[in-house]
Symmetry: C2
Subunit: 496 residues, 2 copies
């Protein structure tokens, strides 16, 4: 828009209010909008007297009624002021918005091959089947279901999930126990507020483990205490000694180590919970993907009153759907639902109806089979590439999930840190691991070391990596490992 | 399922595990599931020794490998225990779920005609257009958008909303200031946590006003202070004297009184906010529906750094979509977004893409026009019916929104409370109003008195009602008023 110069008057109004050439039925709104903009931008300063409606109408070539209406409207809104007699002035109520400088664009892609874990293959989202489920669900949904939702979730979805989880994960899943939520993250936050309101101040987490629960529980005022693992799962001695009465676990496929809790440890964990009148939170984050053995049933099935079970469609469908579930003990159910109500009144009902239809029509099982095939193929490609390009690397945690742990022998890590930038700083601190990561980054491969997920440091000089493979093609995986190995050798040929 | 009797052994296993007649590829899973159920239900008690895999296989007519596998699986899960030598026992880790007694069914319909406000006409939801927008949005959405969302909202929706709200509501709406959220309720909760973290303990609300913010802010630890209105809006004297530094308002169409804040009051409110370094929360809950005059632009447009603006599609499309927005001052933006992140990581991205498409394709404007026509007709039907059946009733707040205030002369309220039940109790307390409500309830009409929304009691003997009409047909409205009037006269003829 053109800037006005000096005090407006006469034909200068045409410059200040240039946009009244709209079709006649929109002219009034356009004039009002132009006047608002002029006041806001400061082009019309506070205290400026406006021309009479007759004058302005003549200047702009519009009807006088249009101008009168605009003056009245903007006076009602507080932009303009009318004097006792005649006359209209610019008011002094308006303040400008502070300028916003943030970037709207999504973060750009970084490395050429990114092995950092956490993302499924978003191209596997079943667009056609999902669209069909949406159409079917919307056509069947009663009008009433479009009203304010039940904060526990749509009854038909809770029933569908109860059946699905009992069948696939061996949980005890009365639909009454299911609370639909916006993914595992919201489940943690909800639980944090409920436990915080009961006076709980600390909560145990697995070390190594996901860093995410710490931030989520912190938002509810709870501090997390990292607790060590042993070969069977969360170590019971340190757990008992910590004094916590609730602990977040990933017993089916521990994140990131990939171990499955032993039967003895599962029982021991529940015994601990009963002894301290406590709670085990079971994050079944990738319970859907098992490759070489039958899935280990959920811990929740053993004692539904001591375990809060939570999962989502984030790995099986898409994180962007923000759809997950909790199975809550009877003693917590009302408080969790009330928190859910004040947090968002409940999940969107149409989304819930679509997922319910997708589950009951068999689409969800088909999707799991499809993903399982794709992810197993990628896992195999990763293991083969590591054996070929970084021989001696031990791979573990491979029976399930969307990532593996790779222990790369120290001989692959250059002794002299020679890399630059952020990775170089890590190199100075982390010795062999830092140097390996820096070389990989320079070769275009983004990696996440196991040490990112916990407090323990291995002193054996080997490099432990958490390699996510689900979002990469077999060819991309092979290329990434080749680049990584080339970086480790310090050559550039591998990039070809 | 059949209950077993006595100690299981021999062919009793067929009764305990009856469901192994599944197709062969599912038999293993079915057997495992049946075993789990038997342990959980107590039909197989802790310490019970299971038959050898050979025996059980023979009893059930399945392969021995299937039984071995089931034993191994359930042992890994903690349901069963294996001894040092041979032998498998039922473990003692399992505890039953407490029984759940709540009702899954949605609340049934109560009254024959329900004038209680708050619900739009859910049958006006544009199913066909929404399904088309879903299809279009899903086909265009890049894979990446299905990943974890931006907690601020999908950029294309923020841009679309900024344009829509600037155009329709006169707000200053840089897309950077838009935070997509799960409706106005979540906006209040988010804000409550942000202000609470800054040390705020109390917050003003309008009296009369919606009771909902009180519960939402309470969940964040803030107490609300009801502040009186006068004819121009929130009274500034009591506001200044209250000591609060933030206040929730509905300036465009006050809920429930229906007044629009005067220009002077709008300016005064902003002056107060600047003087106390405070904040005005503008709940534009029904800003989309104006009937007899141009809409009053949003207060936010006058001072975007002192006003938090919030709205949603709950009245224009459906509350079940759980889609709303906030426009936040620069000084609060980061904290609001971080709270949104820990609360749910962000709204579902596909839903956001659908709304963005619906707005930019013109579907949203069409929907608003369609609803506006329908609601205006219903409002007119209500006013006409009140004039016919309850003459002398004054109706106000009619220029906008989905409800009106009706002041029914005291002569329509029977002096002797003669009603029963809940309404009778109100009758004892509320005099003429209670008696009127009780008679209406007995005639099948659900009403909400203005006194439900505030602390003030009118002493003039008239009955003040908040009548929601949006969800009723013109015929239903006429019938409801006829029933109400019949109840007031104490006859039964009006029900015909």
């Amino acid at each position: 828009m053109t800037e006005g110069s000096g005090e407006p008057g006469g034909s200068a109004w045409e410059l200040l209010l240039p946009a009244v050439s709209a079709p006649s039925r929109r002219r009034g709104r356009t004039l009002q909008s132009a006047l608002r903009d002029a006041v806001r931008s400061g082009r019309l300063a506070a205290g400026t007297r406006l021309p009479s409606s007759r004058e302005l109408a003549a200047d702009l070539g519009v009807s006088r009624g249009l101008v009168t209406e605009a003056y009245e409207q903007l006076t009602a809104e507080g932009y303009l002021r009318s004097g006792r007699g005649s006359g209209t002035w610019v008011g002094d109520a308006v303040r400008r918005a502070a300028s916003a400088a943030r970037d709207l664009a999504p973060r750009g892609a970084g490395a050429r091959v990114d092995f950092r874990p956490g993302t499924p293959d978003l191209s596997l989202f079943p667009r056609t089947a999902w669209a069909a489920a949406h159409k079917a669900a919307l056509s069947r949904l009663p009008h009433q279901a479009l009203g304010y939702p039940d904060p526990r979730g749509l009854p038909e979805l809770r029933t569908a999930l109860a059946g699905l989880l009992a069948r696939r994960r061996g949980v005890v899943a009365d639909p009454e126990r299911v609370v639909v939520c916006s993914g595992v993250a919201q489940a943690m936050t909800l639980l944090g507020f409920v436990l915080g309101a009961r006076g709980m101040r600390t909560l145990g987490t697995e070390d190594p483990g996901s860093p995410e629960p710490t931030a989520l529980f912190a938002s509810a005022g709870l501090r997390t205490v990292p607790l060590p693992l042993d070969a069977e799962g969360l170590a019971l001695g340190p757990l008992a000694a910590s004094g916590v009465r609730a602990v977040v676990t990933t017993p089916a496929h521990q994140f990131p180590s990939g171990i499955a809790y032993s039967a003895r440890r599962r029982a021991g964990l529940l015994e601990w919970a009963r002894a301290v009148d406590g709670l085990v939170v079971e994050d079944d984050y990738d319970g859907d993907f098992r490759y070489d053995r039958a899935p280990v049933g959920a811990l929740q099935g053993l004692d539904p009153e001591r375990v809060v079970y939570t999962g989502s469609v984030s790995k099986s469908l898409a994180p962007g759907l923000r759809l997950g579930w909790m199975l809550v003990p009877e003693s917590l159910a009302d408080e969790v639902v009330e928190r859910k109500r004040t947090m968002d009144l409940g999940n969107p009902s149409l989304d819930q109806a679509v997922l319910a239809h997708f589950v009951t029509s068999g689409g969800y099982d088909r999707q799991l089979r499809r993903c399982g095939r794709a992810y197993r193929e990628r896992r195999d490609a990763l293991i083969a590439a590591l054996a070929e390009h970084l021989p001696g690397t031990e791979v573990s945690g491979i029976a399930a999930g969307l990532h593996v742990i790779a222990r790369v022998p120290g001989r692959w890590a250059p002794r002299r840190p020679d890399a630059v930038g952020d990775a170089g700083a890590r190199g100075a601190a982390g010795g062999a691991e830092g140097a390996f990561l820096a070389r990989a980054a320079a070769a275009g491969v983004a990696l996440r070391p196991l040490s990112d997920y916990g407090t323990a440091r291995a002193g054996d000089g080997d490099v432990r990596l958490v390699l996510g493979y689900a979002h990469l093609t077999p060819a991309g995986i092979a290329r990434g490992v080749r680049l990584m190995a080339g970086g480790a050798r310090g050559d550039d040929r591998a990039g070809g």
